[in-house]
Amino acid sequence: MKLPGVQQTKWTGVAIFVGIVLIFPFVITQSFLLSQATFTGIYVIVALGLGLLMGYAGQISLGQAAFYGVGAYATAVLTTSYGLSPWLGLLFSILIPALLAYVMGYTMARLSGYYLAMATLAFGIIIHGVLVEWRGVTLGASGLYGIPQIQLFGMSLSQGLPYYYFVWTFAIVAIVICLNIVHSHVGRALRSIHDSEIAASAMGVNTGKYKTQIFVLSAILAGVAGWLFAHMSYSISPGSFTLDASIMFLTMVVLGGSSSVWGAVFGTVLITVIRIIVHELGETVPFITSDFEHVVYGLILILVIVFTPRGLFPPIAGWFTRIMKQRFRKNIEQTKAS
C-alpha cells in the first residue's frame, strides 16, 4: 500500500539492515567486537525509546538508566532469589518499569523543560539510591550475582554468538515496532505535537495521553534492554545504572538525532565505533585513556548541538540519498547514451 506524501517505513531499508546484522558475525570473528555489538544491540533498544520520547513527545529524561536498571533488577531478583524462569522475569521487566513510568508520567504531566529534566534526574537518583540501600533484595552496591542464563529451545544462551543474535532479534523487533508507531497516525499525531501543540490539540489530539504513552513505551523498551543485560551478565550492580549511563543514552540519541527512529540506532552504533577507535588508539598512543574518551564525548555533544542540532543522521542520510540519486541518474543517462 503506497500512500504518496505519507511517511512510510521503507521495508527494503529494514531488510538491508537485518541482512547486515545477520552476516556481521561471519565477517567479524573477534569476540571483543561481537560483545561490543551485543551491547550495542541492548543500548539500541534503550536509545529507541529515549529517541521517541525526545523527538516525538518533545520530552527529556535524565533518568532513563533507572528504567533500564529496574528492568534488569526485576528479573535478576526474581530469577535468583525466587527461582523464576527468565521468561517470566521478562514479564516483570516490562511491567514494573511500565508501571513506574505510568505513575511518573501521570504525575509529571504538569512539568516541562528544565523542571521535567530535574524531575527525571531526581527519579534516577532515587532509584539508584533504592538499588544501593535495599540490601535485603538487591544485595546493595556490590551487586547481585548468579543470574541464570536464558533457556531457548532447551539451549542455554551464553555470551557470544547466541546472545548476539538473541539481542539483535529483540533490537530489530523494537526497531520495527518503533517504525510502525512513528509511521502510524499515532506517530503523526506525536510529530504534530512537536511542531504545534496548540494546533494539534485543536484537531482533537490528546497531547497528554500520547506523552504518557510514549513515556511508558520508552520505559518498557529500557526494561526489556535491562532484562537482556541481566541475563547476559552473571552479575549486575547499581553502578551500571547511574546518571552516567543515562547521559550515555542521551548522547547516543542526540548524536544520531531524535527526529527519526534510525537516528537513535545510528547514534548508538556511532558511539560504539568511537569507543573502539579510542580503545584502538589507546593501545598505540599512551596518553589516550578512557578519560580521553570522555573528552571526546563532551566535544561530540557540543559540536553536534552547535552545528547540527537535529543530530548527525539527517544530514548524512540526506547526503547519501542525494549521492545515490545522482548515481542512479547517471546510470540512466549512460544507458541512454549507449
Binding site: G5, V6, N180, S184, R188, D195, I198, A199, A200, A202
Partner: protein
C-alpha cells in the same frame, strides 16, 4: 448553534472581553471584527477552548463548552485555523490534513505498533478523506511537499483543508486572509462560500474588510473588549460607533479643541 452569553475574560487586571453576548446561527457566515486589541482573538480562543472565560457561558448545540479542554472540541464538531499559522512544518501537506482525521482514527498505540490489518485499513481511509479535502481547496499539486516549504497562500489553504478534515459543523477562521494579496483573498472568499454551501457554519475573525463585507451574513464588532455593534455588513459600514472605533473620534477632538480655544 453557538451562543456566547455574558462572557468576560480578564488577564491579570487587564480586561480583554467584557460581558459579550452574541449568537451564530446554523449555516451562517458570521464575521467578528474590531480594531487591534479589541479582544477578537481572545474571544476566538475561548470558543475553541484554548482557555476558559473568567465569567459567562459558551454554548454549542445545547452543550456548555467553556470548561472543556482544547482537544475535546474537534470531536464535538468545532475546528479552527490559526492567524499565526500553526502548520506542522516538518510534515507533508497530506500528513497535515490527515491530522485533521485524527479523531476518526481509533487505532491505539499497541495496534499501530503491531501494524494490524485494521490499522492499515484505517490508515488508507484517512488518506482518502484527506485527499478529498485537499482537492476541495485545490492543493493536490503539492500534496507530498513539506508544509514548511509552501508559499503563504498555500499555507492558508492547507490550514483550511486541515480544519475541514475534522468534518466540522462549526468552522472558526482566524484571519484566514491575513497576508494574502487581492486575488488570493478573493479566491478565499469564494472558497468560504463554497464551504457554507456544504452546510458548515463559518465564524470568521478578519481584518480584511473587503472579505468580511462581501461574504458575511452578519458582522459583530468588538471595541475595547465590548460588543459595540451587530448587523449586516451595510449596517456596520454605516454605523457611526464603528467608524469612530476604527478611525478615531471626530467629536472628541472637537470638544478638546473647543476647550483649548
Amino acid at each position: 448553534m453557538l451562543q456566547v452569553k455574558n462572557v468576560t475574560k480578564t488577564f491579570g487586571g487587564v480586561v480583554a472581553n467584557k460581558e459579550v453576548n452574541f449568537s451564530v446561527g446554523k449555516g451562517e457566515i458570521v464575521g467578528l471584527i474590531g480594531p487591534n486589541g479589541a479582544g477578537k482573538s481572545t474571544m476566538f480562543n475561548m470558543i475553541s477552548a484554548i482557555f476558559p472565560p473568567t465569567k459567562g457561558e459558551i454554548i454549542f448545540r445545547d452543550l456548555n463548552i467553556e470548561k472543556k479542554s482544547t482537544n475535546e472540541m474537534a470531536p464535538l464538531g468545532i475546528s479552527r485555523t490559526f492567524q499565526n499559522l500553526q502548520i506542522f512544518k516538518r510534515m507533508t501537506v497530506v500528513e497535515n490534513v490527515m491530522i485533521g482525521r485524527h479523531i476518526r482514527t481509533k487505532t491505539g498505540m499497541l495496534k499501530a505498533a503491531l501494524k494490524l490489518p485494521s490499522a492499515k485499513d484505517e490508515e488508507r481511509k484517512a488518506y482518502e478523506s484527506a485527499l478529498e479535502c485537499i482537492h476541495f481547496v485545490g492543493l493536490e499539486k503539492v500534496l507530498d511537499q513539506q508544509a514548511g516549504n509552501l508559499a503563504l497562500g498555500d499555507l492558508r489553504l492547507l490550514e483550511l483543508a486541515r480544519a475541514l478534515a475534522v468534518n466540522p459543523e462549526l468552522l472558526l477562521l482566524d484571519e484566514i486572509a491575513a497576508g494574502l494579496n487581492q486575488k488570493e483573498s478573493k479566491d478565499m472568499s469564494k472558497l468560504i462560500q463554497k464551504i457554507r454551501e456544504q452546510g458548515i457554519t463559518v465564524f470568521v475573525v478578519e481584518h480584511d474588510m473587503d472579505l468580511v463585507m462581501s461574504i458575511c451574513d452578519k458582522v459583530i464588532v468588538l471595541d475595547q473588549g465590548e460588543k459595540i455593534a451587530e448587523g449586516t455588513p451595510q449596517e456596520i459600514q454605516g454605523n457611526q460607533q464603528v467608524i469612530t472605533a476604527y478611525l478615531g473620534a471626530e467629536e472628541m477632538e472637537e470638544v478638546k479643541q473647543g476647550g483649548g480655544a
